[in-house]
């Protein structure tokens, strides 16, 4: 049991950064919920783009522009196919999850009227709170928060009583970045639709841990970031059902999103370009496509189930430590573990772990309301990807014990 399988070692070897040393120690990268590392082919794709394809897209008649446009649009197709979207035009490239949510909050939320209700949950990332607060204030909408229990699970009974004809959109995370909780989004989507409400799924954390099929989920919007699925930073995706995207006004104005501009009137381009103003992150989109190709080339089923093993082993070992409190003990969890030890500040432990080569996240993880709920200043979060090894968990546990011996 306690040995990393060969297929994981093989996968791991594709990620050059994992061979890095930090403070003279082999890097143990357990901050995958913040960002994932990149396989060599993604890194090389960025370089090859700038070496031989760089041009602006969609407009140029010249060869390079056509090549770059083709590659960018091919990436869109790859993403469409990977997440099971019906049409290419339903895939909007954005800067990332935050940008995608802001787009929907502004454009879809902008269509809502006084006293319409928006539902979010108590475990949302600030990125799925603040954009809704902004539009709620502007349009006098009511923002309601689905509560959670002490295990960090949604209170589904209360949720059932909160949805009504007034509910226009439910914007909820698929997986909590702080607790690891996997939410029952299918049930939420069904319930929402029975009242005619739309649902946005924040897939920032789920995209790297499982297969997503937006058609099967029947969600109205699904958003994620490229850098959390082994692709580059600065590129993200908004999937939206075509009829909704058609209904929504443009989010930003500029090049690429127009059909015809005059000083009297401007007509907008068709989907997806209506929502893609300005020169996009071309290389980001293309390399995200490469990251998707990488995922399609590996046995993700095996890799994702191995992540569960990592989680179980880490939790088992952590529980043996005195005064250990795990934050987020939902029945359905992804491979991350948030915890505190006694009254020791997470920053202290994180600082000492760093000096031992271990990258974990400390703090409120952009979920301050959640910290208030648990009445803690923050947590330490170790989040695993399939390229992490069982042996790394051992190194982490030993480093943690050494840190605690200094701090206690």
């Amino acid at each position: 049991m306690n040995q990393t399988p060969d297929y994981i070692q093989e996968l791991r070897s594709k990620f050059p950064i994992l061979k890095t040393e930090v403070h003279g120690k082999a890097l143990v990268y357990f901050d995958n919920a913040a960002t994932t590392q990149k396989p060599l082919e993604v890194i090389e794709r960025v370089q090859s783009y700038y070496n031989s394809e760089n041009a602006n897209i969609h407009r140029g008649v010249h060869h390079l522009s056509q090549v770059a446009t083709q590659d960018y649009e091919d990436a869109r197709k790859l993403i469409q196919n990977y997440i099971g979207a019906g049409k290419e035009s339903e895939i909007i490239f954005t800067k990332g999850t935050t940008d995608s949510i802001n787009l929907v909050a502004s454009s879809f939320g902008g269509l809502l009227q006084e006293d319409d209700e928006i539902l979010i949950s108590a475990m949302e990332h600030h990125s799925n709170i603040v954009p809704w607060q902004l539009i709620a204030r502007k349009n006098k909408l009511t923002l309601k928060v689905i509560p959670i229990n002490r295990n960090g699970e949604l209170d589904m009974e209360t949720f059932e009583t909160m949805v009504s004809e007034k509910t226009k959109i439910i914007s909820i995370t698929h997986i909590s970045n702080t607790l690891g909780t996997i939410n029952p989004i299918k049930d939420i989507i069904k319930k929402a639709h029975s009242f005619g409400a739309k649902v946005l799924i924040d897939g920032a954390q789920s995209i790297q841990h499982g297969k997503i099929n937006v058609s099967d989920l029947d969600c109205d919007f699904f958003v994620f970031s490229g850098h959390k699925i082994f692709g580059p930073t600065g590129i993200g995706v908004l999937y939206g059902k075509e009829e909704l995207l058609e209904l929504m006004p443009p989010y930003q104005g500029g090049g690429d999103m127009i059909k015809r501009v005059s000083f009297k009137e401007t007509t907008f381009n068709e989907l997806p370009f209506k929502f893609e103003a300005g020169t996009p992150n071309i290389v980001g989109g293309i390399a995200l496509g490469t990251a998707i190709k990488f995922l399609k080339s590996i046995d993700t089923k095996q890799a994702f189930s191995y992540e569960k093993r990592l989680l179980n082993y880490a939790e088992e070992e952590l529980k043996k430590i005195d005064e250990m409190t795990l934050i987020g003990t939902a029945a359905e969890k992804t491979s991350l573990v948030s915890f505190n030890v006694g009254k020791i500040h997470p920053f202290d432990i994180g600082t000492l772990l760093d000096k031992q080569g271990i990258a974990v996240r400390t703090g409120h993880h952009c979920t301050q309301p959640l910290m208030d709920f648990f009445n803690i200043p923050g947590t330490l979060r170790a989040s695993f990807a399939f390229y992490n090894t069982i042996e790394e968990v051992d190194v982490f546990i030993n480093a943690l014990k050494r840190s605690l011996s200094i701090l206690k």
Partner: protein, 137 residues
Amino acid sequence: MSTFIEKQEAIIEDFELFDDWMEKYEMIIDLGKEIRSIPENKRSDDQLIHGCQSRVWLRTEYKESAMYFFADSDAIITKGIIALLIKVFDGEKPETIVKEDLFFIKQIGLQEHLSPTRANGLVGMVKRMKMEALKHV
């Protein structure tokens, strides 16, 4: 009494005794235990320094042309780092605190705590201490 420069040089020498960062941090933590702290019932929000992942409270006194500092934090490494600053700044004239170069931080390898990340508040601490001193220049 040591000068502003001598105090910094003494800290650099202390740090040179250790190769291992864990030992250096042990020393930092021990230093934090030695400073004049602020008991919980005496802490107030206006003493809080923002920009730290942990909370830091700082109180100052100006006596006979010199500055004196009291500090606390809910993280003991943070408290140790502010103890280092207090060691250097305590008893100095406000002008010295505002103007003189604080070179020891880089020399002992704590510059990572100076990076503009949200994780630590060394920048905020130094700024607040200098601002407090500036009131008396």
